[in-house]
Every structure is written in C-alpha cells, then in structure tokens.
C-alpha cells in the first residue's frame, strides 16, 4: 500500500470514530427521552402547584409568585443551563363596564444551572418585581401564565424547550 493511502486510512478512521460517536449520542439521547418521558412524574412544570400571594389587588401591594419545577434526570447525560422564562398576563376590568384589558405584569428569565444525570431537583422560580398598572381593579380579574423551560441535553448538542401557553392560574 502506498504511503499516501495509509495517511488516508488514518483520517478515515478518525472520521468514522467521530460519526459513530455522534450516532451513539443521538441514540442515547433518544433512549434518555424515552426514559424521562415514560414517567410523567419526571418532569413537572409546575411541580406541587404554584402560589400567588397578594393581600389586596392594587398597584401598591406586594406581589409574590412562586413556580416550582420538578425534574428527575433519569437519562444518560447531564441537563445543562436549565432556564425558566416566566411571563404573567393579567386580564382585568378597571372601568366597571364589560371591557376587559390585558397587560403583561411580569416577564423574566431565571437560570438554574445544571442537573446531573441520575439526580432530581425542584427548582423554585420566584417572581417579585411586578409591573402593575396604576389604577384599581374591579372584579373579575384573571392571571394567565406563559412558561418556557429550556435546557441543553446530549452533551449540549440538543436544546429542548417546553412551552406552556396561556395557563390559567387565577
């Protein structure tokens, strides 16, 4: 065999190793997804219910929202850069007639870091700084949340996002 061919074979083996590794990552990622999704308790968004605390609905009151996320990482890879994007919309009537207004009173992202494989954790999202319109509300009022949980998986090669839209948390 010519020397040029030997070098080529070394390169080919290197490429084969890389391609095989990527294929294995894809397969293990799929198996992890099956493991995680096969039990609904592995991902709970939100876990244990959420709590909204406010004494009197009005612009000068102290508001507090707590959204816990429970994740049990039973897959083969670590879950990295876990983020929760929480936005809260309020539908309210401030005039006494039938008109319903809609405003976003909270929108923020919190990063919870990494969750190692085989471990589980409950991450608490705490929202305190609300932008509440400067007038008093009349009944009825409703809260609707848009929650996005995102994280990297499979050695940061796959990004997954769970979007929960218009969740009624009144």
């Amino acid at each position: 065999m010519r020397t040029a061919r030997v070098f080529r074979w070394i390169m080919r083996i290197f490429i084969l190793l890389l391609t095989a590794s990527l294929s294995v990552v894809t397969i293990l990622g799929g198996l992890s997804a099956v493991n995680i999704l096969s039990d609904p308790n592995n991902i709970q968004v939100p876990a244990q219910g959420y709590s909204i605390t406010s004494n009197v609905i009005g612009p000068n009151d102290t508001w507090y929202v707590n959204v816990p996320i429970g994740i049990n990482n039973v897959g083969y890879f670590d879950l990295n850069n876990l983020e929760l994007d929480f936005s809260l919309e309020m539908e309210f009537n401030s005039t006494g007639d039938d008109s319903i207004h809609n405003t976003t009173i909270y929108n923020d992202v919190q990063n919870f870091g990494n969750l190692q494989r085989g471990s589980s954790g409950v991450f608490e999202f705490n929202a305190t700084s609300f932008t509440v319109p400067s007038f008093h509300f009349l009944e009825p009022y409703e809260f609707r949340a848009n929650i996005t949980v995102s994280a990297y998986y499979s050695l940061d090669l796959i990004l997954f996002e769970i979007h929960i839209i218009d969740l009624d948390i009144s």
């Binding site: 890389l18 590794s21 990527l22 294995v24 990552v25 293990l28 083969y76 890879f77 050695l155 940061d156």
Partner: protein, 94 residues
C-alpha cells in the same frame, strides 16, 4: 442493570470523545454553514425539472465517458517502453 451500566459507560466514553473534539469541529461546522447558505441561494426552489435534467445529464455523461475510457486500457507510457505483464487478464487482452 448490566445493560444500563454498559450504556452509561458508553455515554461516558462518547462524552469524553465529543467533549474533546467539539471545540475543534463546531467552528469548522460554522464555517461550512456560512458558505452553504451562500450557495443554497442559487439553487432554484419549487422547480424539479432543473434537478431531473442535471441528474439525467450526469448519468448520460457517465455512460458516455465509461464507454470511451473504461479505465482498463494499457497506459501509453508502458506501450512506448514495450513493457508487458504476465497476468491472466493481460494475456487474454493481448
């Protein structure tokens, strides 16, 4: 359990390989994407005829080229030097 351990071990090995090579391979991939995005613009969309014509031309040209230059003729420089080989194939041709 052994199966799970095996897969976990495999994930560790692959993780080490990808973790080492990813910082090298990903920037190269980004460079690839840059030129690919430029090139893709020139490819017509929603018109199969162009692709079918190119495919037919490729096949026809390959057939034509193979008929004229099948790659089993004796190299000219060997003919000039009068070199011959004694393989069975050559004996048949000669």
């Amino acid at each position: 359990m052994i199966y799970q351990d095996f897969l976990q071990g495999l994930a560790d090995i692959i993780g080490a390989i990808i973790g080492f090579l990813k910082p090298i391979v990903t920037p190269i991939g980004e460079f690839m994407v840059t030129w690919i995005e430029y090139v893709l613009v020139i490819f017509p969309r929603e018109n199969f005829i162009v692709y079918i014509v190119i495919c037919v031309i490729l096949i026809a040209t390959a057939v034509f080229v193979n008929c004229y230059w099948p790659g089993n003729k004796r190299p000219k420089h060997l003919k000039d030097k009068g070199m011959e080989f004694t393989t069975t194939e050559n004996e048949k041709i000669l």
